[in-house]
């Protein structure tokens, strides 16, 4: 092999590797400014004017319109509290409380951030519609099979994520005031 051929091969490998690394890093919103709260990830700066280049590139790629800092916060859980990837064959309990917010919603989405079809037609729970205990605490059950109480169905046997949006929350990911204790638990109850 001549030097030219080897160089070309190296360049081609580099191009592939570079683009692959880019796609992999951007798939989750970029490597920076992600805060972890138990099972939840908060893209701290996605909705800020001074978002880092990775966050901006991730937004350009996904087409997502982020929540602004003044509107609220979005948290995404791809794992349970023990760090295990969310599995469509398991039953999860989310609760009992959320960080302070005027309203919140909990949605189940696929890997690209879209709701997953399910026979119950239930894709999201609002804080204003769920059943609660007398003390205001709640449990939302995430499972493929029908569950009593607040049931958020897993529509397909594929990877999924949970999205918690806090509207009009005094918390800001940038301020660091978020307390770990206030994020709802994502507990794996059982697996089929």
């Amino acid at each position: 092999m001549t030097t030219w051929v080897k160089s070309l091969l190296a360049a081609a490998a580099a191009l592939g590797l570079g683009l692959w690394a880019t796609a992999a890093l951007l798939a989750n919103g970029g490597p920076f400014e992600t805060l972890r709260l138990g099972a939840w990830e908060v893209a701290a700066n996605a909705g800020a004017a001074d978002a880092d280049p990775y966050a901006r590139a991730a937004l350009a790629r996904s087409g997502e319109i982020p929540l602004a800092l003044g509107e609220g916060l979005q948290m995404v859980a791809r794992v349970d509290d023990a760090g295990r990837a969310l599995n469509a064959r398991c039953v999860y309990r989310i609760g009992p409380r959320t960080p302070p917010a005027r309203y919140w919603t909990l949605e189940l989405v696929d890997r690209k951030g879209f709701a997953i079809e399910n026979p119950a037609g239930r894709y999201v729970f609002r804080s204003s519609e769920i059943l609660r205990e007398g003390d205001g605490s709640f449990s939302i059950w995430v499972s493929a099979a029908v569950h009593a109480g607040n049931w958020l169905p897993i529509g397909a046997p594929a990877r999924f994520a949970l999205v918690l949006r806090l509207y009009d929350s005094p918390l800001s990911a940038a301020s660091g005031a978020i307390q770990k204790t206030s994020a709802p638990a994502v507990v794996r109850e059982s697996c089929a």
């Binding site: 080897k6 160089s7 091969l9 190296a10 360049a11 490998a13 580099a14 191009l15 590797l17 570079g18 683009l19 690394a21 880019t22 890093l25 951007l26 909705g47 800020a48 004017a49 978002a51 280049p53 990775y54 901006r56 590139a57 937004l59 350009a60 790629r61 996904s62 087409g63 997502e64 319109i65 982020p66 602004a68 800092l69 003044g70 509107e71 979005q74 005027r102 309203y103 919603t105 949605e107 989405v109 690209k112 951030g113 879209f114 709701a115 997953i116 079809e117 894709y123 999201v124 609002r126 204003s128 519609e129 529509g155 999205v163 949006r165 509207y167 009009d168």
Partner: protein, 192 residues
């Protein structure tokens, strides 16, 4: 070629490939917002012209509009182009649980956002202008009768305004939609 020389050559090409891969990665990340064709603004531009209020379809498994959009939230937007002068945006508040108005640049970054808590006289209202237009507006201000407008400076001439209206219950989504659709964006008469 002895073993040592071959090893050195392989290491050389591997290093070359890694350096090129890192370069590729940085170039890809930095150019992504400039070349993306599926970013939020490009997609919104296909849905409506400047100052035209367009409602976004409720996100669902069949209507996969914008990723991580909340199915509980009705959304409407209008694009603006400040080359033709400042734009006044107005969104009514109503019975809905939560409503917000946010201003985004051409690149999707959030410039500013207010919620219904900051509404006056039943409206969330702001004048979006570029830096030069803001100076002109300030120069026109009557000192004895100061303007009550909230003025938002957009770093880019093109951008969009979005209103989000949360429905407290699934049955109230239609009401939230009606409120979102009442977003109004109009050229602001400035100067004499």
């Amino acid at each position: 070629m002895n073993f040592r020389a071959r090893y050195a050559e392989a290491a050389f090409y591997a290093t070359l490939a890694i350096i090129l891969a890192i370069l590729t990665h940085f170039v890809a990340v930095l150019t992504m917002p400039l070349v993306a064709e599926r970013d939020a603004y490009s997609r919104l531009a296909k849905l409506g012209g400047p100052n035209e209020t367009v409602e976004l379809a409720q996100t669902s498994p069949v209507s996969r509009g914008f990723p991580y959009a909340d199915p509980a939230v009705a959304t409407a937007f209008c694009r603006f182009d400040l080359a033709n002068g400042p734009v006044r945006v107005r969104a009514p508040i109503g019975r809905a649980g939560f409503a917000s108005l946010s201003v985004h640049t051409r690149r999707g970054a959030v410039v500013y956002a207010i919620t219904d808590r900051a509404a006056t006289h039943g409206y969330m209202e702001a004048v979006v202008a570029n830096a030069a237009q803001l100076r002109a507006l300030v120069a026109e201000d009557d000192e004895d009768n100061p303007s009550e407008d909230l003025r938002i400076v957009s770093p880019t001439n093109e951008g969009f305004v979005l209103t989000r209206v949360l429905s407290e219950l699934p049955d109230l989504y239609g009401e939230a939609e009606a409120q979102a659709k009442a977003l109004d964006c109009a050229a602001e008469p400035s100067g004499k």
